[in-house]
Symmetry: C2
Subunit: 318 residues, 2 copies
Amino acid sequence: MGIDIGGTNVKFAWIDSRGRMIHKATMRTQAEAGPEDAFGRIAKTVRRVMGKDAPAGVGIGCAGLIDREERRLVVSPNLPAWSGARIGRISERALGVYTILENDANAAAYGEFSVGAGRGAKTFVVVTLGTGVGGSIIHEGTIFRGARNYAGEIGHVTINERGPLCKCGNRGCLEAYLGADALVKVAKHRVKSTRSVLGRLAAEHGSLTPRLIGQAARRGDRIARSVLEDAADHLGTALANVVNLINPDRIAIAGGVAPAIGLVLPRVRAVVVERAFTKSALCAKIERGRLGSGAAALGAAWIARQGAVSPRRGRRSD
Amino acid sequence: MGIDIGGTNVKFAWIDSRGRMIHKATMRTQAEAGPEDAFGRIAKTVRRVMGKDAPAGVGIGCAGLIDREERRLVVSPNLPAWSGARIGRISERALGVYTILENDANAAAYGEFSVGAGRGAKTFVVVTLGTGVGGSIIHEGTIFRGARNYAGEIGHVTINERGPLCKCGNRGCLEAYLGADALVKVAKHRVKSTRSVLGRLAAEHGSLTPRLIGQAARRGDRIARSVLEDAADHLGTALANVVNLINPDRIAIAGGVAPAIGLVLPRVRAVVVERAFTKSALCAKIERGRLGSGAAALGAAWIARQGAVSPRRGRRSD
């Protein structure tokens, strides 16, 4: 069983011993009430679905910085009331089963690797485009963590050392160009009137979002298209860095902004071929993630399954 | 036994079963005569040193693109007459011992990892500063190769998407700022007269080199210092990318230009802390390589030793 805990919703995924999805569910996080409260309600949901059966193992994907050894959420911008909580232990007490705690980006990547866009890849990279830009690397079936589990921060690869300031304090990070706020800011700057499709959508909705930019681009709006084309150039540059450094054979673009960026994916691919070493670039297949917003819950279930099959591995801190 | 084959010299390193260096040697490559000729002379050198004893295993580090499975040098700018040669097989015939073929940057990194600056590191990155800028990643004792053995090209990480053109065809690569030619070009541009130490050295030697820039900086020359400080900023940006993506606990700066860059290493470290995530940056110890120009031969010997201890591993293509 896998659980994806976000700031707004908790998502559940049940898989069978062969990894096939057998059930899913969603509930409100009500994060401000704290983790003990949430796990009380999580336990109820699990009982409602499973009856008296206990899950064979539980994996949790959680937004924020994770201490895997202590199975603790060190800090999370989306779950401030949960900071410092030993989620692994709380879950175990509520559900009666050993629980593996993982970062949500890693969980989503593991989901895509197990049953989505990363199936069969040797070196798989996921870029998650949302409010922030995240990432994860899976090499030979194992999440690549580096020395202390901080690897994979693709959103904070500098593509222009004199570029715009990023929330992380650095200049010219990919996220400073491709985070949802940055995209919307560029679009607002270019929309001068309501004569364009994008201008009309902005007026109708009171503001702009990456989804509306994608909608306008799909309807042929030139401004929206130009915003996404510039985004493709930046993303292509960052992915060329990833390609030259890590040499992946598969890259998946996931997250809420992925549908909009999907419209300019051929351009992203062209920039990677133009910038990275040809042999390396041609080896890296770039496509959309396939699991949508359910990737992290499903991936967490797969991580639990992996842990159940070889418990040492699942419990190791590296 | 390890052999490092470069465009000018062939270097040898003999180690005992515990990995201690017991002997080293050097001979001219005379690359234009081709690999068969060179291995004739290599065999003579080996016989002169070892008498009738055969080495327990041979590792070769070779500049250029390597097909490890076929143990072939696919292409090499410094050994044009060797392109396509099955070095592994040629060496075996000449020396009578199974030979592992490896890229020279990987061999040097493995040397630093085994007995130099990377000892005990979990995720170790080497940046080689020379005519070109190369690199290698060693994670948990194994060279990280990515999907097709092209990983580790740190010299071709873009740090400015609109930066100067690089030899690889991309814009704003680290190498376009920190390759020996690029450094010399910047220095020449800034040296307006022979009144500065650097200007005097340039006039004396007829031209400039990174070594002379380092010499002048050591004597307090402000122009040389400014060239190296700018280089430190660019290198720091590229290493911040490596830190955020790979989370190494050790980074070594090696190669012929490393002594000059060593003068501004505190600045490189400061830029990494400023740009990368703090936790990740503080985890990455950045220092000079310790083995100098003998790293690749020694590393190749260690790779051979590793192959002899667990031959499957040494012979595997991944």
